[in-house]
Symmetry: C2
Subunit: 332 residues, 2 copies
């Protein structure tokens, strides 16, 4: 029986090639090595079927080329999209991803940060909700949609601009009475600005509007109650709705249709996120589209930027409007 019960190491390769261990390391890492030595080493690698073992390097250098992504889940299509594009951006830079799902559990958010540190990740990208989350100072850390402090870069869409755009679009489509509806976490984060932009535009355009914000944890039926209380004699008090997310917009459209209202004929609806059915088919609802590829790229390039020096504390990326059939386009 051969004694090759264990995988060959650089030392084995060195012995096989008749060179020093350091030379093998240099070949493997593509550093300057004499041509004759290089080929001797490469032959030996092939003969032995040597494969690089990154744990040695991690121990020695403390770096892993792994970035932790902390996010609620991957079932929500917006998160799925984010995960997808962040992975593309990481792969482009030869990095791997350690995926951490929190399911909106604040304790898990904390635990995963600790776990990421124990695994020597090179950085953390996090989309979290824990109001008391402690950001590690010794690991490059960027957050999505939530501002902590000037020293923790935050990447987000232009939420204010998106709210503003939604109101303008509804006006443009002929709406005269608007409402904004959302689930609002107790946390004040970047998406909270969707409301502010919407309000700002309504005031500016002198359009009447109402706000219906429901705290997280409140039952969805409150939205139904709200709509019904504004429904008299077969018509709704609003002809245009801006909803905090596409997901909620979808649910609310069901309610509207259940009430006998037609969307978009009687009520036009604009959501936020830019979710497509099955990920790449038509938009689920008319929407303000977040620039997910750009957000992902910004997250990755920021978290990997050397020592996180000279990085802006808030990166805000432009959104755009897209029709998903729940608004009336002017000229088709």
């Amino acid at each position: 029986m051969p004694k090759d019960s264990k995988a060959p190491t650089m030392a084995d390769v060195a012995r096989e090639a008749g060179v020093a261990l350091g030379t093998v390391s240099r070949v493997v890492n593509g550093q300057a090595v004499g041509e004759e030595y290089r080929s001797k080493v490469e032959d030996a690698i092939r003969r032995l079927g040597y494969e690089y073992n990154s744990s040695g390097r991690t121990l020695r250098t403390g770096s892993t080329n792994i970035i932790a992504l902390i996010i609620p889940n991957t079932v929500n299509p917006y998160f799925a999209l984010l995960v997808h594009h962040i992975n593309i951006a990481l792969e482009k830079r030869d990095c791997r991803m350690m995926l951490c799902f929190t399911e909106y559990d604040t304790d898990r958010e904390t635990e995963y940060i600790q776990l990421a540190r124990q695994n020597q990740v090179d950085g953390i990208i996090a989309l979290t909700y824990n109001p008391n989350l402690i950001i590690p100072a010794d690991i490059p850390f960027v957050t999505i949609d939530r501002f902590f402090s000037a020293s923790v870069p935050c990447i987000a869409s232009d939420n204010f601009g998106g709210g503003w755009l939604a109101a303008h679009k509804l006006k443009e489509m002929g709406c005269t009475h608007l409402a904004f509806m959302r689930f609002s976490s107790t946390l004040t984060n970047e998406p909270s600005k969707r409301r502010d932009g919407f309000v700002s535009a309504c005031v500016e355009m002198n359009i009447p509007f109402e706000i219906m914000a429901l705290d997280d944890g409140q039952p969805f039926s409150r939205f139904e109650d709200f709509l019904r209380s504004h429904y008299k004699k077969g018509s709704l008090a609003f002809d245009g709705l801006f909803i905090g997310t596409d997901y909620l917009a979808w649910q609310i459209i069901h309610v509207l249709r259940g009430m006998g209202l037609r969307v978009p004929e009687d009520v036009q609806v604009i959501g936020f996120d830019g979710i497509r059915i099955f990920g790449d088919q038509e938009y689920a609802v008319s929407t303000i589209v977040q620039p997910v590829p750009e957000i992902a790229e910004a997250c990755v390039s920021t978290v990997l930027s050397r020592h996180m020096s000279n990085v802006p504390s808030l990166i805000c990326l432009p959104v755009k409007y897209a029709c998903g059939g729940t608004t009336i386009e002017k000229k088709e």
Copy 2:
């Protein structure tokens, strides 16, 4: 200036606590240690803010508690669901996930296996399409939906039974002329059996049917051509369609409606997978639901089973039918 520029190690803790390095290791790993020693160590850990560094252990033991999941992407809702449930199953066992997206690129599938080995993962779960993929013999490996050999466990839904069930349901709903449509990869994998089950049921029930399988890479418009060629004088030759995936079913329903046909009144459609809109809302189409949580659980428990000994080579899990509005329920 303090000299704590580097993170404290077990050796630092041992010195601080006045015990031996091995004792610290035993405390950290929850092994038997005298009570007085344990508390001395725990105090020292707290004082120093020590945090476990897993790279040392990985180097020493060769194990990481990380499982690689190789999958095309996370944008397709079925894959998103799979990722989600596999992560739940891994977390339950204190394992982390290294996510590898292939985007159906066969080279990437190979590369990621190599990368996973270099990262010392404890196992690999893979959903792949490369016909020549080489399965590493030295790493626990399970595949989803694709049988390689008796030594590589394969986890899949009961695809044959699903096809069979779809045909029976369509019959039950009053259909008399059926067709099956799918994109078929050149690869013969478990999902290929959806067709076989469907055919078997049609023959058994003595129902006329047609099969329209399009090779991957062919344009979708071929399906349109197929439907149009079976469309005469305002009616389609089929009143029931079974489609290989919900995703394709969704697209085909668009074509049908574009032709002026009503779904489900004129044509009933059943897809496969069990995809819900926004991940947790209504089913996108009437469908054969894959038992994703059970598939995930089976993948994880199998890949982690000690030495992969005594594991079945094919685990087949039961599917069920669900209405998604593209079939006519008998009694509502």
